[in-house]
Symmetry: C2
Subunit: 203 residues, 2 copies
């Protein structure tokens, strides 16, 4: 009986928010310094002074741990399959509609803006974002592409999507910031769809 | 005879690099705090302790003063007319070819990256960049567009161009960073051309 409480006081029981915070702190440190790919759950657990199985018990996957450490509002692993799943037809529009909806909903509290800020200023943060985006989103989108050079096509999509975030949210270009969402879903959805399906070199 | 030298020693003669630096410092301060549009040559001259005519003697235009203050490698006023001048046909490809050539040439020393970094972290810097981009580039591009909503179209182009810079240079997405320039000129040139000319709402 006193065992459980004693353990809790030492801060090393599943469900203990002190332990959870220690893992998240350790994760932020490892992901920032080593990137998303090289940072291991084992090393993060070691830094937090817990068993790796406890990290997996709390978070399930390394991607989910990253999402929690960065305080993202969603885990791409939960969302991307629903967007990509129905197939390549209309995928551009589904991606843009989801992104613009999320961005409008989050507004200034959008933690993606913080990640963009870090990535722009710090090469380590840029690597972390590149590797996470790659594994969590771009490789999943590329897997749905039937045309040649699927990962280049996913990168092209990412370049327009990051550009939307920059130009509409951060620079706030006036006509773009004021444009209604459905117009942008149509215009950008067609661009993304072209990147997903059309010949890269039509000559 | 001694007049000229005496004047130079006091640092207030045209051609005096101390005066030039004082003007550039004053310009950076005013542009950062008030934005590109509200900062006046008169106020900048006042801060530098010189006559406004001397600022114009050194720099010619407020845009050129901004370009010098930010240490841009080029003044858009010198370049954009040559790209836009030949007309709307092929404008997308000319814009992208120029941008990618410039970005590859500048590499890490690209001062546009510094401006993007500031804009992402500081709303005042974002406003400064938005207003300068607007007057120096986007309004000039919009003036060449014959279709409806020209400035929204110019903003759409800007969103893809900023996205190229972010995804290829800052995030360095692997396939995009490795792609050959002519492939990207073709793919992105067609996107920009669509934003310039095609119906925004084809329904």
């Amino acid at each position: 009986m006193t065992d459980t409480r004693g353990s809790a006081r030492r801060g090393r029981r599943p469900g203990d928010s002190g332990t959870r915070e220690a893992i998240l702190d350790a994760a932020r440190g490892r992901f920032s310094s080593e990137g998303f790919r090289s940072a291991t759950v084992r090393a993060i657990a070691g830094d937090a002074g817990v068993d790796p199985s406890l990290v997996m018990h709390f978070f399930g996957t390394k991607q989910a741990l990253f999402v929690a450490a960065m305080e993202f509002p969603i885990n791409p692993a939960d969302v991307v399959p629903h967007i990509v799943g129905p197939g390549i037809d209309g995928l551009g529009e589904r991606l843009v509609r989801f992104l613009l909806g999320l961005v409008d909903e989050l507004g200034e509290a959008n933690p993606m803006l913080g990640l963009v800020r870090s990535a722009v200023g710090h090469p380590d943060a840029a690597r972390m974002m590149r590797e996470f985006l790659g594994e969590a989103i771009l490789d999943r989108v590329a897997a749905a592409i039937e045309a040649d050079r699927p990962r280049l096509r996913a990168d092209l999509c990412a370049s327009q999507i990051v550009g939307i975030l920059m130009a509409r949210q951060i620079l706030a270009l006036p006509e773009l910031a004021a444009a209604d969402r459905e117009t942008l879903v149509g215009v950008y959805g067609r661009t993304i769809q072209r990147y997903l399906t059309e010949p890269l070199d039509p000559r």
